[in-house]
């Protein structure tokens, strides 16, 4: 088994996509995964945008483990017992929910069915370089040779760091999530959230669910489970912990969220069947490695920083799939040109820059600015909720909206002009 055209490291969405497309094109592909089966180390929110996945698997709608199509998007700002909620009812089916454990397993099965050799329980320890080019990978005492290696190791880039292509990430560019899976009868999910049989909801919550620390809460409905979680920026979270602003464990924030009077009715009798955590990227392009390709090497997915964190939504799976699709095209192009040299693989970055992924990453840089500005998390939510309370909780004549905003700004010690400027700057790039 010792020589492959392509070795792919990591059977997440990115790795399985690359392995699938290259095996389908007739190359000899080895897909390596450290977990027991693909997906066993993965956890997400979870909804995936379908069209970029259909570009790889036109049969997606028939075959993939699609739990529900998102027909409702909600955003809430929560402070204390008060909440403001905005709901958008979609007119079209663009994204679906599914546990990532299931979705990633399906993608790896597709790669295997296309002819890739899938080996799990293999921790790749090194991408091996010889005479200035990548020649294969090493795990334990075993070396596997490859003409080209595709690094799809995800956000924990042990291999790229070893190669010197990435540094240990800046904590402010990362976020950590704690998540629970709640088991609930599908009919109750549909009744309580107002959904039809295959419809789902995606819900983002900002405010004191994170104690005003940059981050948020999420709720996604799967077929017969609900995914709820709390995400905290690692840098700001650590600061808050050291300063004593954060005194409780992250699981406690999540449990407070689950049992909050505004939310708990949705799943009041339901049990938590799994609890977990995973880290994600918030830095966008700032997290990108020093290079996306080298002699005999391509980097795809989270490892390449191809994750759009647009505040109201994390898009990492469709972008991982797309970066891997583009990488697979570049590999085939390089093969036709006669070899996987750096020069011949340059098409990867060029194609990527033209894809929607890159455009999204650049356009949404305003979001990175939000995450770089704790003001939006600690000051804006209480201000908005206070203004709403003045309008909706007046015993006698309620103030005008403008009055309510003005006095709330004063009471929260917010400079209105500064707020408007900040909001204006961000909205243009969200």
């Amino acid at each position: 088994m010792n020589k492959f055209d392509v070795v792919v490291v990591g059977a997440g969405p990115a790795g399985s996509t690359a392995a699938y497309l290259l095996a389908k094109a007739g190359l000899k592909v080895l897909l390596l995964e450290r977990g027991r089966g693909a997906g066993s180390k993965l956890l997400w929110g979870g909804k995936a945008y379908a069209q970029p996945l259909r570009d790889v698997w036109p049969e997606l709608d028939k075959e993939a483990p699609i739990h529900r199509w998102v027909t409702k998007e909600r955003i809430s700002v929560l402070w204390g017992e008060r909440a403001i909620t905005l709901e958008y009812k979609l007119g079209r089916r663009v994204a679906f929910t599914s546990p990532l454990t299931e979705l990633a397993a399906w993608m790896a099965r597709k790669a295997e069915a296309a002819g890739a050799l899938f080996l799990d329980e293999v921790v790749v320890e090194e991408i091996v370089v010889k005479d200035g080019r990548v020649v294969g990978v090493r795990s334990g005492g075993d070396f596997v040779a490859a003409d080209v290696v595709i690094d799809a190791e995800g956000a924990n880039r042990l291999l790229l760091e070893k190669l010197g292509l990435a540094d240990r990430p800046n904590p402010y560019h990362m976020a950590v999530a704690a998540k629970e899976v709640i088991s609930l009868d599908p009919r109750l999910i549909e009744e309580r959230f107002g959904l039809e049989r295959d419809e789902g909801l995606s819900w983002l919550v900002l405010g004191d669910v994170t104690l005003g620390i940059p981050g948020g809460g999420f709720v996604y409905t799967m077929r017969d489970t609900i995914s709820i979680g709390i995400v905290l920026n690692v840098g700001y979270g650590a600061e808050a912990a050291e300063k004593g602003v954060l005194r409780d464990h992250i699981s406690r924030l999540l449990e407070n969220f689950r049992t909050h009077p505004y939310f708990r009715h949705y799943w009041k009798e339901a049990d938590v069947i799994e609890y977990g955590g995973r880290m994600t990227v918030e830095g966008g392009l700032r997290f990108a490695p020093k290079r996306l390709y080298a002699n005999g090497l391509l980097v795809v997915g989270d490892a390449a920083g191809m994750l759009v964190n647009a505040g109201y939504t994390i898009r990492g799976v469709d972008t991982a799939v797309t970066s891997a699709r583009v990488a697979a095209e570049a590999v085939l192009e390089a093969r036709d040109k006669g070899g996987f040299t750096e020069e011949n693989l340059r098409g990867y970055e060029e194609r990527l820059r033209k894809s929607y992924v890159y455009k999204e990453l650049v356009d949404h840089s305003g979001v990175a600015e939000i995450f770089g500005d704790p003001f939006f998390f600690s000051k804006v939510p209480p201000f908005l909720v206070r203004a709403a309370s003045k309008v909706f909780e007046a015993d006698y004549a309620e103030p005008t909206l403008l009055e309510a905003l003005k006095t709330s700004a004063q009471e929260e010690e917010i400079n209105m002009l500064r707020l408007m400027l900040k909001v204006g700057r961000v909205v243009r790039r969200i």
Partner: protein, 96 residues
């Protein structure tokens, strides 16, 4: 105590009982140097509560780790040795 148990916050220990691990005999994460470690951040942000205090020292129990990498990002290679568990060991997520 009139609230049903599902409407009260569960303790971390109770949440951990929901999970499946295949724990390796060998530890994959180890504190090498205590100096300068953000003690509170590690205790509160490690989602699985793997870090706790023993006197004035930080203690790391690798058994409940989900290999998320947060403690890695909050430390240097000199402070914490961090590897993935071998042969598929560690957390076995099922519905996440």
């Amino acid at each position: 105590m009139s609230q049903p148990s599902r409407l009260r916050p569960l303790k971390l220990e109770e949440l951990l009982r929901r999970n499946v691990w295949d724990v390796d005999e060998e530890r994959h994460i180890e504190i090498l140097r205590q100096d300068g470690l953000p003690q509170k951040a590690l205790q509160l942000l490690c989602p699985m509560g793997c870090y706790s205090m023993a006197g004035d020292k930080l203690l790391m129990s690798y058994e409940g780790c989900v290999e998320c990498g947060t403690c890695r990002v909050l430390s240097t290679p000199q402070q914490i040795r961090w590897e993935f568990p071998k042969s598929g060991r560690g957390i076995q997520y099922r519905y996440t």
